[in-house]
């Protein structure tokens, strides 16, 4: 069942990379790294919002790491549930074309004040990804040169991918008919 074997290889490789990379980051940033998860299908670290910009530059310029390809910035909205507070998670997926390892970095933000420094000066790919995360999830990236909506119309109200988003009944007179 070889599909499982490429899966298993990928998971094992991810774990080995994490065990090599996470101690380097922990040593440099100490308390900035809030949580490390080495055992998931995709290992990730959760960092504090304050160190995001410094971490981004370190990840790109440090020789051993050289994460030069920003693959994706994803925003996930978690509503408050019985045991957990609500939060918005912004996840950065990074790749290295030199060392062939990858990294998943998460930042946890409060739902009513989701803002984060922009990393577009570190990876130019972040430009459009941050615009999309702002447009759909409502995360404000400070320092972005032009944070305007990219997929929805410019005068759209609300952030559609939030879990408490209410679909508007009409837009410029065009009604939203539900049969």
């Amino acid at each position: 069942m070889s599909g499982a074997s490429t899966q298993a290889t990928r998971i094992a490789r991810g774990k080995a990379d994490a065990e090599k990379i996470f101690p380097i980051l922990k040593e440099k940033f100490g308390d900035g790294i809030v949580e490390e998860n080495v055992d998931g299908i995709d290992p990730f670290i959760v960092v504090d919002k304050k160190i995001v910009l410094e971490l981004a530059e370190f990840l790109k310029t440090e020789e051993e790491l050289s994460f030069d390809l920003l693959s994706l910035i994803s925003g996930v909205d978690y509503l408050p549930k019985d045991d957990a507070e609500g939060r918005i998670e912004v996840v950065y997926f990074l790749d290295s074309t030199k060392h062939y390892h990858r990294l998943m970095v998460k930042v946890s933000l409060p739902r009513d004040d989701a803002s984060l420094p922009s990393v577009e000066n570190v990876w130019s790919a972040a430009d459009w990804h941050e615009r999309e995360t702002f447009d759909l999830v409502g995360v404000v990236f400070e320092g972005h040169h032009k944070l305007i909506r990219i997929l929805c119309a410019e005068d759209w109200e609300g952030h559609p991918l939030r879990k408490d988003y209410v679909i508007p009944e009409q837009y410029h007179g065009i009604k939203n008919i539900v049969y």
């Binding site: 070889s2 499982a4 490429t6 990928r10 990219i150």
Partner: protein, 379 residues
């Protein structure tokens, strides 16, 4: 004749609107030009936004599969594969061997179909009408094969979670083998004679739209665009998924043969050479398809992954196609975020034109060489 000091020389703001024969979909570029030279462009996307990610949060995993087809509608099998494999990774599901080989065959055939369309329409954008008809003649043969396999020509929903939707018969395998023997080497050589080394084509694409290696990586370019700039990065080799580790094939890389490394000609040539490699892979797979079941019937009926999240990447026809799937333990996904390769590829256009030296006709050549499909950009 009017005197020459009457000629107006101010800048012009030109709208290459959402409806345009050369923008490969609904893509709007607002261009500020000084005569023929471009000063600045501003891209606007979102005309094909169909809220795939919001819909995926309201339907079950099995129902999401047809929506994934419609993202990159020219290479739909690969989209299905990315999503199916992501969910299988979350569920720790093993897919039968026969299904794995069938997946490889259809995905590589779909890559060829997608590159054929890219090749044909690129020639047509630049004024070469004949290669378009040749490309579509061969694409039609592929679409007939797909219609035999799963009943659909374009949006297949064939690769499902747990395997593939229908079994593939001996007759279909023979048809695929006949296609491979017909296509390579004669037809591919014909394309080279028709377009690749044509003087006018080279004049319009070589040294045009040069993307240096560092800029390509910085902007998150992937797929044939990144390989055209000289970076040898292919997910099928670097991070193998499905059973790609069992096949031997080359990864063509641009090297500035007719101009500079990273120009439009390099990106175009990488796609032509990739078609040859895809036929190579299909031939190897055809020789080794085992018997067995084509889907894990039990697991594919009730898809309820445990709580967790995964990011699965596959090598789409246009680059790295990624699915970030977050599951909360129910039969409905919590969040499905897609990384469409064309979204990142087209974001480089504004930075390429701001340094000057790009002429109005070059914008068409650049957009065509980046090979975008708006379904993926907007989702």
């Amino acid at each position: 004749m009017p005197a020459t000091d009457d000629i107006r020389t101010e800048e012009m703001l030109l709208n290459m609107g959402p409806q345009h024969p050369s923008t490969h979909g609904v893509f709007r570029v607002v261009i500020r030009t000084d005569g023929e030279m471009i000063l600045e462009t501003e891209s606007h996307i979102g005309y094909l936004h169909r809220c795939f990610e919001k819909i995926a949060e309201n339907v079950s995993y099995l129902q999401v599969v047809p929506y994934t087809d419609r993202m990159d509608y020219l290479a739909a099998m690969i989209n299905n594969l990315g999503f199916a494999e992501g969910v299988e990774k979350l569920m720790q599901l093993e897919v039968p061997e026969r299904a794995q080989y069938i997946r490889i065959i259809v995905c590589e055939l779909n890559r060829i179909a997608s590159h054929l369309l890219a090749f044909g329409t690129y020639g047509m954008d630049l004024g070469a009408i004949t290669p378009f008809l040749h490309a579509f003649r061969d694409r039609e043969k592929l679409l007939k094969i797909f219609e035999k396999i799963c009943g659909q020509r374009l949006n297949y929903s064939y690769v499902r979670i747990g395997g593939v939707a229908f079994d593939i018969t001996e007759e279909m395998l023979r048809d695929i083998e006949d296609f491979c023997n017909y296509f390579e080497p004669e037809v591919l050589d014909e394309f080279d004679r028709l377009l690749s080394y044509n003087g006018i084509f080279i004049a319009r694409t070589a040294n045009v739209g040069v993307i240096p290696k560092e800029m390509a990586i910085d902007f998150g370019l992937t797929g044939p665009n990144l390989r055209g700039s000289g970076v040898k990065r292919d997910l099928r080799k670097d991070e193998p998924y499905c059973i790609y580790d069992r096949f031997t094939f080359d990864v063509p890389v641009g090297s500035g043969e007719n101009g500079t490394t990273g120009d439009c000609w390099d990106r175009y040539m990488v796609r032509i050479r990739e078609m040859r490699q895809s036929i190579n892979i299909v031939r190897q797979a055809l020789a080794a398809v085992p018997d067995g079941s084509f889907i894990d019937k039990k697991a594919s009926k009730t898809v309820k992954p445990p709580k967790g999240e995964v990011y699965h990447k596959v090598e789409g026809a246009r680059g790295e196609l990624g699915f970030h799937i977050v599951s909360d333990g129910t039969a409905i996904p919590y969040r499905v975020k897609t990384r469409g390769p064309s979204f990142c590829n087209i974001s480089i256009l504004d930075s390429m034109t701001q340094d000057g030296g790009v002429m109005l006709a070059d914008v068409v050549a650049i957009i065509g060489s980046l090979d975008i499909v708006m379904g993926e950009v907007d989702r």
